[in-house]
Amino acid sequence: MEQVLRQAWAFVFRDYHLTRRYFSWVVVFTFYAVVNSATVVLIGVAAGDRKLTLTLLVGVLLWGFLSVLFNEIANSITYERWEGTLEYTFMAPVSRLIHLAGVSLYAAAYAVVRASVIVAGLLLFVDLDLSRANWAGMVVVLAVSSAAFIGLGLMAAVLPVFSPERGAEATNIFQGILLLVSGVYYPVEVLPRWLQPLSVVSPATYALSASRKLIGLGDGAQQTAGAPLSACAYELTVLTLMGLVMIPLGLYVFGLVERWAKRTGKLKRTG
């Protein structure tokens, strides 16, 4: 057990030190994320509409968290291919489950810290009383929706094995589609009818819907108090089911592609 924990820790240790070495870039990207989030939320402030402001606030925060989580996991193999270390990681005696658990653990911690910095930054721009939001419920929603996003990240992580450049491109397109169809800044009902079915299969749709109820944006009129967690039973059930399906599916797909890569020689740096 101790050995397995050390193996998972290897990825946390590596990613922490890589973040430290690229810290100036982390600061730059986080600064941009804070400013970008503020410009979105200020649209609601300018309209003098508390409901719109809260809708946008939940959108930027949740998307900021989930997209970073997805990105870090999806790009973990891309980074290794760029550095040329993929073969060394794949010939180490580490199960793929432990490998990807370690990568996901650091990605989740990084996403939490980054989202907290964005919240702190937003407080400089927006004066909102959120004391009656159901924060404990929000943490539950974040945790449950993370599982589904980790599963999606695992499936996207294999794309660079086929082609480092094309894989990274496909990951960005996939992330863009999630952003478009999940109702991050607007209700999904405003999407063209032919696009709306995609919102049903995006875990972000349910995470956003639940978070908005919990922060005080229920179905009724202008709510101010966050709803109890029980009001999000449907969203939590769907997110749990998605997590239960997507993580094993992500691992399965990863395993399939790894075996294919070892038959065709695609693990090599130059592919």
Partner: protein
Amino acid sequence: MSNLGIEVRHLCKSFRKRKGVIRARSSVTHALRDVSFEVARGETYGLLGPNGSGKSTLIRVLATLLVPDEGEVRLLGYRLPGEEAEVRRRVGRVSVDAAFYKKLSARENLLYSAYLYGMDKAHAERRAMEILEALGLDGEKYTDPLEEMSRGMQQKVAITRALLVNPPLLLLDEPTTGLDPKSRRDVQTFLERLRSEHGTTILLTSHDMAETERLCSRIGFIAKGRLIAEGTAEELKRRSNAASLDDAFIALAGEKLEEGDGGAGRKSNEVALAEA
């Protein structure tokens, strides 16, 4: 327990490449053709061959990074494919390009690798310092980013990484290529010590005749994916009536050792398959 460190029987590996979309053409490169050889436990075996001859493909198969098309491989008695997990615990590999996280220090890269193998920090640091010292790398460099180190220093860190867990089997793919003479000598001396003190089985690929003669008890010549001859350096020279290993290779393979490559050598291995 088998007395063999490496047992390779009738190993074949080919790669298919597809070009074009509308008039798609595919070609097959036969990287390994019916390769068979054995290496005793504790023996250092050298594989000599030009670029593109199949040396690195063979090392990748043994390192569990490639699945062979045909043939049998046993490493320290463990079968490939099939017992990858057992093999991975016992095999260290050094490739010609020192692949690292270049922004991280030698210490961080080595600790990352040690954790992957389940080692604890104190033991890993102690072992890393011992090996780096034996290889003649200044301890002060230990915390410097790899990108600030010379190629020779990086290669010494790569060798340290492969030896951290003290593997009974080492796969060395041109480990001294590009090193200065002093670094090359340091590495060679260390490998000799490793064999005599720990009985490590070593498979070494190289272009360097002197290095191969110095380190390897037996040598195999590989060209165009085939193992064309093997024996001690003296036997190979005698068999081809040559004064040097280089001449022996030319006589037996019909090509120079430093030629071949992915260019001409590989082309000759390719067979255009079909136009779709």
